[in-house]
Amino acid sequence: MARILSALAVGLIFGAGIALSGMADPAKVLNFFDLAGTWDPSLAFVMGGALAITAIGYRFVLARPAPLFDAAFHLPTGRRIALPLIAGSAAFGVGWGITGFCPGGAIPALGLGRGEAFLFVGAMLAGIALSRTVRQALASRAAARTA
């Protein structure tokens, strides 16, 4: 129970940060990227603040043997900088630039009860589900070939 409640509390802090910072507002996000137009540099402060706290905090946290509610830290193990990482990130940018929504901004935006956020998040989840199906199909085909 403590595990679930602590995740809920951390989620609340995340959502409050997104809401206060302006990341839940697609118009503000789009203006950050519109250097040639109605530029709003606010989001550089969001990234700067988040990065500074995380970089310092991780130093202390990751020096410990394990997290409080788990046996070990779950850190990404991938080291390869390959086509999926680059093409995927490029595609993410196209969608972000069209809509002004990124996943971390759109999920808290659901709490504002606006239809646009629900439409975006529904499509995004469908995109994730579709991608996973495609990746698993490709993996099982590759496995069948080598077998």
Partner: protein, 141 residues
Amino acid sequence: MTQFTPLLSLAGGALIGLSAVLLMALHGRIAGMTGILSGLVPPFSTDWTWRAAFVAGAIAAPAAIVGLGGAVPFDSPAPASWLVLGGLVVGVGVYFGSGCTSGHGVCGLARLSPRSAVATAVFMASTAATVFVVRHMLGGL
């Protein structure tokens, strides 16, 4: 136009950072929305409960701010069809790109991950290019 909000944005960013540090300290997890959501798309991962709790908190916070009389600005200029298309493209992109702004841009950069540095540089450039094309070449959607 949107108002330049350096202090509020810095404070909000600090809260995002605090949540990332706490999620690592308590659960040993990267506070990346893509990774967290991936376990909540059917078939659910076995550890879906903490993920669902985090997402519920993230959704509840802006609602609580509004409920307490605060203002959370929101303006979504893209038409509905473009929201659906853009949402699909974001979903596919962050899945194959292994992360988004929170995972690569905050947690990954804070760990000095070369993969996250490349991913962040690519999606920031791609977003800026897309906004330029949409606003200054197509004249809006």
